[in-house]
Each structure stands twice: as structure tokens, then as C-alpha cells.
Symmetry: C2
Subunit: 229 residues, 2 copies
DNA sequence: CCCCTTATTTGCGCCAGCGCAAAGAGGAAA
DNA sequence: TTTCCTCTTTGCGCTGGCGCAAATAAGGGG
């Protein structure tokens, strides 16, 4: 199945592209579908392609030598990932991309995008805007991890997820994540996440289930995330 | 005192610039000198200028509402900082820049660089390369903070500093930092840094003094930083 | 509808690292 | 030399959060 080039405009980096460019990009893209739990690429692989997620959900994570991992970012539809290789020569992916459900992505040769960027300043510019966003987010999360207590970090992780992929349902906002995912996102362990969520449930802030958190009182979660003390 | 434009080539982002461009940039730059402990800008200020440090040393840090801070990066001569504003509209600085000693920097209007970048792809490209480097470093540090024990984090912080600003002296590599600085760089407290350094001193790895660490056995520090156990 | 796999909860014990407090130590200025 | 300020060290007690282990719950497939 070929992707309609104009769909690509949903990708933030391509928002100012011409129809012409989108068509070119679509022509150079390869579609790749993988199952839940499989990988688009591994940390350390040569960064030959960059990807645009077309459907499904994936996570970008980093693993240390001992195998422990942290979740850097969750990728949803029409987000770009693995793009660092388009900038550096002979780059390797600094993180691993794993599908959280059956997913499809467009793979675009990093070199090709690099070539396009030579003559299309808006592309570099939009990509740069994306990157500055990541830098800011990582800086913030780094500070959080260094200075904030676990409960607040979990609250923030939850809020970030709400902004990114929360779905409104009756009675609140729903998120689909395992405790383990949440732990990797907030730099803690699944046990602690479970305990904190249980406590919040007792307070009526959330309602939890298997791979599911329903936020009943978003304002309450915000208060935990922001409250100074 | 006016800066010789060709000196600007030491700035990584300007490495591929033409002499012409360097001259233009130099003409648009304002020199600003500040004393130790003073600030180039604060987190939250409108990001009107970006800076190139000409002499001295500064640190970029992020503060949380309660006032605790983490050190994101140490800036040495001819490094660019505060550049995020050149990319985003109406941006505010996401961090605070404080001089660690008497320092001088060139201030360049963010808008001006943005203008230059429109017609000089190499500039965007080199800036992007710089940014991808920051992203990678922050991702790594984030993972470290989430998964590694304090001792190892301190070892890594030390090694990063060695790479960036270590000076070779007889008997080792010397660094000039307070325990507090080191603590902010590795996400811990000055007490813990002090204890760890004392222990390393007993083991003969380092020699410590006021605002000073002499690394006697770099290999030993690397071992602590890398060793999987 | 039952079985198996995977996710979740919770009790329990433990310890790494925090942070106060108070005592050194080093430098700079006078 | 003395004073003062800042940086550093270290004892001490405490606790947040980790992680094992075992029980429980929830799906999903056959």
C-alpha cells in the first residue's frame, strides 16, 4: 500500500514542504510493518534510515550495558523518529525503537533527507525546531530526575502522556500503559509505580486496570506535579 | 576591544562559514563581560541573544520551583550557548547561564542568526549537528541518572570534564571544580561527592584539594565508570 | 469455559544516599 | 600575622524507594 503524499504533511518536519517535495519523499520511502514487541532499530545500529510512524505506537529507549532501560519517548502516529542519522556522518542510532503494538512506519534513507535539506532551508529549520523541543524536554526530565521525588515524577510522566496520547472518555482521560512503561518513563521501578497508583486510587484521583490508567481528576494530578514542597 | 572575525572559526557552528560571513557576524556582535557568579541570562528570559564565550568559563543550569538546581553543561571558550532562541519564535531560555569566573562573551541577536541561516544551509546544518550532540548527551545522562549508582555517575561526570576542560599536569590531569559543581553535574549532593572523592583518594586514584581534583589514575576512573557489576 | 501467560499488588527487609551539624583547611585581603 | 569567608570533610541518624517473593487478577487463545 502506497501512502498518499499529502498525508505526510501531518509530520511536523514536513509541514512547510511543497506538494512536490512530499511526493518525492513518499517515492523514496519504504513501508515497514512490524509486530508488537519487535524492533525498528537497535541502539548502536548504523543510522541508515529515519522513520515516520504511520500507524501503531512505539517507544524509544536506551539500554545500559547491564541491560536496564529507560524510556526516552513514546512515538505516536505521524511522528518522526531515528532522525539523528540524517545530520551526523556515519551515525549510529543512540536509542532502540520498539513497537508497543502492531505498527507501520515509512523508512526514508537518511542520506536522501540530508540531500533534500541542502537545498530546502525550511526542512532543516523545521527539523531543528523539533530537535530543540527534544533538548528542552530532556533537560527538564533530567532536572526532574535529579531533584524531584518519585511521586511527582510519576505525575509528570502521566501528564506528558495525557498531552501526547490521552483519549478522553466519560469520567476522565484514559491512557494505555503498563506499570513497567510508566516506571521506565519516570525513572523508577514498576513496584513503586504500582504503589503510587494504588495510593492515588484510594484518594480517588485515578482508576487503574491492566495496562490502563483512567485519570478521574486531572487537576489533582497536576497539583501533585506542581505543588511546591 | 573588537574580536578578530577569523577567531570565530573556532566556534563549531561557524567552522564552514566564509570569511565574509564571519565578518558580518562579528559586526553584529556585542561584547559583554561579567564577573564570577553573575549571569548572562536567566531561565525564562526572552531568548533575544545567543552567546559565544570568548574567555572565562560558565555553566548552564536548570532550576526547579523549589530552587534546587542541576548543571546541564559547562561552557568553555569558543562554545556557543543560549542558541535555542535562534530557532523557535518568541522563545525563552530554558536554562540559566552563570559565569564561573570572570567571563566575556559575544552576544549575537538570535533574529540575525536566524536570518543568516535562511540563505546559508551550512549554518543550519552545523547548528543542527551541535544540537544532535546535546540530545545524545542528555539522553545518555538521563539514562545514567535513572539506572546507575552514584559512584559511577561521579566517575562519568569527571571523565566528561576531562574531555572538555582537563589540563594535563605532571602526575595526572587537573580539573578545577567545587564539590558542589560536581554534585550538580552528577545529580547528587556535595556530601556524597566529597565522600566518594575521599574514598578514591584513599585508593590512590585521585588527589583532591580546594576547588581542585587531580586525577592520578585516569584508567582507574574509567574502570569505575564502565565496569559492569 | 478452562488454561496459560502476562500484568499487578503488597508485605517485608534492607541499604544507598541524603542532609544536618560541627569541625577542619585553604586562600585572600588587610 | 590575623581575620574572615568559603569550601571541604566526616560522624550520625534517618528514610525513600528498591527489589524479592508470593499471591492475585485479567485477558486471550484454543
Amino acid at each position: 500500500m502506497k501512502i498518499d503524499p499529502s498525508m505526510l504533511r501531518q509530520v511536523s518536519v514536513f509541514q512547510s514542504a511543497t506538494e512536490e517535495d512530499l511526493k518525492l519523499i513518499a517515492q523514496h520511502a519504504i513501508e515497514r510493518s512490524i509486530e508488537e514487541g519487535e524492533f525498528f532499530f537497535f541502539q548502536g545500529d548504523p543510522a541508515v534510515y529515519l522513520y515516520v510512524l504511520v500507524s501503531g505506537r512505539a517507544k524509544l529507549m536506551q539500554t545500559n550495558p547491564a541491560g536496564q532501560q529507560v524510556n526516552l519517548r513514546t512515538i505516536s502516529e505521524w511522528q518522526l523518529f531515528g532522525a539523528l542519522g540524517a545530520v551526523r556522518e556515519n551515525a549510529t542510532y543512540p536509542a532502540t525503537a520498539q513497537a508497543m503494538e502492531q505498527s507501520t512506519a515509512l523508512a526514508i534513507k537518511s542520506d536522501y533527507l540530508k540531500e533534500l535539506m541542502q537545498t530546502r532551508p525550511y526542512l532543516s529549520f523545521d527539523l531543528m525546531r523539533l530537535m530543540t523541543g527534544y533538548i528542552q524536554e530532556m533537560q527538564e526530565r533530567y532536572r526532574e530526575l535529579a531533584t524531584e521525588k518519585v511521586e511527582r515524577r510519576i505525575a509528570r510522566a502521566l501528564l506528558r502522556l495525557v498531552a501526547q496520547m490521552g483519549t478522553k472518555v466519560d469520567g476522565g482521560i484514559e491512557l494505555t500503559f503498563t506499570r513497567q512503561d510508566l516506571a521506565e518513563m519516570s525513572g523508577t521501578t514498576l513496584y513503586t509505580v504500582s504503589r503510587v497508583l494504588s495510593e492515588w486510587e484510594r484518594q480517588g484521583l485515578v482508576e487503574t486496570g491492566r495496562e490502563r490508567v483512567l485519570i478521574r481528576n486531572p487537576h489533582g494530578v497536576v497539583r501533585i506535579a506542581e505543588e511546591l514542597n
